[in-house]
């Protein structure tokens, strides 16, 4: 009887994400992955029903990593400034530590897999984030705006800076490194924008 092996499963996940990021959807066949990961195709089918099932399961796994990192030390009762600052630090850390995984998530977002994946979104995470913002609105620390507006102001500036950092280039193609000073400068502007 075949059993699951955590280490083997981890190697398979890493290789799958790597192949996917390097060569896209077509680069990730079960046969190619088996060769790359040094396992037999039969082993892959112990973990996954087929390629589509594997892609969704990979997404769930990366999402869990993202959620765990983002919520480290976080409490929805925190003051808005302290809570958002921690969110920025945690989110930036996830992006730097898991660049491949981040790329994978982005590719899924603009693919036909997006729908199947978003159904598996962690409700606890969404609720925690919502609770945090609603607490802050109640305490009059944040303006009440539609969630898309809130997210775009609260997090998109950070993700844009992270993207530039990862490409190593700024807007005029000069070298760009995201340092503490730049983060703090941007963070202050974001706080100001969200004040009631």
């Amino acid at each position: 009887m075949r059993t699951r092996d955590e280490n083997k499963e981890e190697t398979i996940r890493q290789k799958a994400i790597e192949l996917f990021v390097k060569h896209g959807f077509d680069g990730l066949s079960m046969q190619k992955l088996a060769k790359e990961a040094g396992v037999s195709p039969a082993t892959l089918y112990i973990y996954y029903k087929d390629r589509d099932d594997m892609i969704v399961q990979l997404w769930v796994w990366v999402m869990k990593k993202m959620v765990d990192t983002t919520l480290e030390g976080f409490d929805p009762g925190m003051s808005f400034e302290a809570g958002l600052k921690l969110q920025w630090q945690n989110r930036a850390r996830f992006c730097m530590e898991y660049p491949m995984e981040l790329h994978f998530m982005e590719q899924i977002k603009y693919s036909p897999y997006h729908e199947a994946c978003s159904k598996k979104m962690d409700a606890k995470f969404i609720n925690t984030m919502g609770e945090f913002v609603h607490n802050a609105i109640r305490r009059k620390e944040v303006v009440k705006v539609p969630v898309e507006v809130y997210w775009s102001v609260a997090f998109a500036p950070l993700y844009q800076l992270v993207k530039m950092h990862m490409s190593g280039r700024g807007l005029r193609d000069e070298k760009f490194v995201l340092d503490e000073k730049t983060i703090n400068q941007t963070f202050k502007l974001v706080l100001k924008a969200l004040k009631p």
Binding site: R2, T3, M30, S40, A42, Y45, K49, D50
Partner: protein
């Protein structure tokens, strides 16, 4: 997930879409099979069966009897 409690049997076949329909009648009414699927996108047309009682040989015989190739894939 519950599936980890069961054995997953993996076979290489020559099934095509109509072949899947043929074997669907056999496999779906077998109470010993918890779940099954065929990955037609894979070159080996993988048949995957989840069962904690069936042996690979038993599955192989069923598929062969329906007129299709089926051999267990080694780990």
């Amino acid at each position: 997930m519950m599936e980890t409690m069961n054995a997953v049997l993996v076979f290489k076949t020559n099934l095509n879409p109509s072949g899947v329909e043929d074997i669907a009648m056999l496999l779906s009414k077998d109470p010993r099979i918890k779940k099954w699927n065929v990955d037609l996108e894979d070159v080996d047309r993988i048949l995957r069966v989840v069962s904690n009682t069936l042996t690979p040989m038993e599955v192989q015989h069923q598929i062969n009897a329906a007129g299709y190739l089926c051999e267990e894939l080694p780990d």
